[in-house]
Amino acid sequence: VSSDDAKLIQQTLAGDRSAFGNLVRKYQDRLFNVAFRLVGHMEDAHDVTQEAFINAFESLPRFQGDAQFFTWLYRIAVNAAISRQRKRRETVSLQQGGRPDKPLPEPFDESFDHQPGDALERRESDQRIHAALQQVAPDFRTVLVLRDLEGMKYEEIAVALDLPIGTVRSRLHRARLELRSILEKTEAEVPRV
């Protein structure tokens, strides 16, 4: 645990809520990004992020400090995301006219690319990737998100997901191939101009 985090954790445990607020501010964007790529919906991602932080607050006394605080937070968020997805599947199957399980278009930072053509192309590519990612099996998707989006090392992913490193490696392997196969199908469906 970084010394900053350890200090904030100690202060939180001593009853200083604003210290926990600082932890939230520090990690909310990263956690939100992961949550969004895992659940695929903005609203759900906000809920998952919120839930993860609240759970983290409640479980803080059990945090042993032998892993990075954020890795530990990931684990909580991933569990929250899995449980959210499970609930969503149940809800959709019960509500016939419910919201279809199709991801909402995500907001993009338009200032990223100043050239209009490039921005449009990038946006399309991002949407395609995001949509394909949502079709990858959740176990594989999680590893893919943590590895490629968050740039985590195998060891960190193993800690975050409580899996052996070998399993992380094999899941990543299968995730890449699954994503490729999904993208190939999508690319085949896109009419060529």
């Binding site: 645990v1 350890a6 954790i9 100690q10 939180t12 445990l13 001593a14 009853g15 809520r17 926990f20 607020g21 939230v24 909310q28 964007d29 956690l31 939100f32 990004n33 969004f36 790529r37 906000h46 992020t49 919120q50 932080f53 609240i54 607050f57 409640e58 803080l60 006394p61 059990r62 945090f63 042993q64 400090g65 032998d66 892993a67 993009f108 930072d109 990223f112 690319d113 490039d118 192309e121 990038r122 590519s125 991002d126 990737i129 990612l133 893919l144 490629d148 989006l149 740039g151 090392k153 060891e155 960190e156 490696r169 990543l172 392997h173 890449r176 191939l177 994503l179 490729r180 993208l183």
Partner: protein
């Protein structure tokens, strides 16, 4: 059809799991196997697309919302004054537990003493007597037992050399004191699990990046090229083209347009002038700017000047080839300080150069050393941070 073993290695390479040697080996196999090469390229593209997905920002009001939703009570923890007593429970829980525990001990002691089976071995057992079944497998703990409420069971706690089950808390919730607590144990069996430190940051091995001209039309393709280019100043760039003459000519012109002229070796110059088909070239350049190069390669891809290119780190074998090409290793031999132009004794201004183009493999001609000398004698001072490239133009 791609074999399973090859496919596994391709995916492993994309994930960065192969060693540089294995990557190099795979790269050579990919050159012979177009389908596998395509898969490799696509998987790399997918990976880069994932990496380049936009980063979103959470609702700025989230911290306040979370703070409002937090339970009123602070996380149940009191900072430990000594190890093993860190975790506490709400008082009402303790009272119940203490009462129940005391009552149970009293009943057990009473029943034991009333029964005619001899003295209670648990209560008064000395350390050299065989242990009873109930405590046959005690778990020695290094931490002192937590502050349990004092029970009325008289000798139980005092005479038991090692409590069978210590209700000591599993962990010290305070991350700072927890570590200190762990360090105290010297017992292999009872010491806490060793937490392996995470491997230190290992720089990602550089691998070859094959890109087709079509991929330069995509942002992901361009980004991966730029990002690989930015990882080092020394690269090997291999172009596969059906028109090597045009490509070589464009590269020479590009150098000239950036005031970085290239010495064209005699035979290579002849091939350029006569447009000899299927000629292969080797070009060494330095002082090129990464951004300019990326723009130029993108432009050449747009103009379909090449089919595929492979960007790779400059290996030891490349340096050997460069020594063969230039007579000595340009990476070892720094250039002398020179201005933009240097005036020869004859008075004619000789522009300084920053590259050397020859045939691939270089011809064994008496003129070669002379051309090489021309490069060495007019070489620019190298600016730190600028690129040194070994470009190979192969004919398809």
């Amino acid at each position: 059809m791609i074999g399973k073993e090859l496919q596994d290695r391709i995916v492993a390479d994309v994930s960065g799991d192969l060693s540089p040697t294995e990557s190099e080996q795979l790269f050579h196999e990919l050159l012979k196997h177009p389908e596998a090469r395509q898969l490799h390229i696509r998987l790399q593209r997918d990976r880069d697309a994932l990496r380049n997905l936009p980063r979103l920002t959470a609702d700025p009001a989230l911290p306040n919302r979370i703070l409002k939703l937090l339970p009123k009570q602070k996380p149940i923890i009191q900072l430990a004054s000594k190890p093993g007593t860190a975790r506490t429970f709400p008082k009402n829980h303790w009272v119940g537990l203490a009462l129940g525990f005391s009552a149970a001990i009293l009943v057990a002691c009473a029943a034991w003493s009333l029964s005619d089976r001899g003295r209670p071995t648990v209560a008064v057992q000395s350390s050299d007597e065989p242990k009873p079944q109930a405590v046959a497998t005690p778990k020695p703990v290094e931490k002192p037992a937590p502050e349990l409420p004092q029970s009325n069971g008289p000798e139980f706690v005092l005479t038991q050399p090692e409590p069978a089950k210590s209700p000591a808390p599993k962990t010290d919730p305070n991350p700072v004191t927890a570590k200190k607590t762990k360090e105290k144990s010297n017992d292999v069996l009872t010491s806490p699990a060793i937490v392996r430190p995470l491997l230190s940051e290992v720089p990602k091995p550089r691998i070859s990046l094959p890109l087709s001209a079509a991929e330069f039309a995509t942002t992901a393709g361009r980004n991966s090229f730029r990002s690989e280019l930015s990882r080092d100043t020394d690269h090997r760039l291999e172009f596969f083209t059906s028109d090597p003459i045009r490509l070589a000519d464009e590269l020479v012109r590009f150098g000239k347009s950036k005031s970085l002229p290239i010495v064209v070796e005699t035979l290579a110059g002849d091939a350029l002038r006569r447009k000899t088909p299927r000629t292969q070239f080797a070009l060494y350049v330095e002082n090129w700017v990464a951004n300019d190069l990326a723009t130029q390669v993108r432009q050449m891809a747009q103009d379909k000047r090449f089919e595929t290119m492979v960007l790779a780190p400059l290996a030891e074998s490349d340096r050997r080839e460069l020594r063969n090409l230039l007579g000595q290793d340009p990476l070892e031999n720094g250039s002398e300080k020179r201005g933009k132009t240097e005036t020869k004794s004859s008075g004619a201004a000789q522009p300084n150069v920053s590259g050397f183009l020859t045939l691939n493999p270089p011809p064994k001609l008496p003129s070669l050393p002379k051309d090489q000398m021309s490069f060495w004698s007019r070489r620019f001072e190298r600016s730190p941070g600028k690129l040194r490239l070994y470009l190979i133009i192969r004919s398809l």
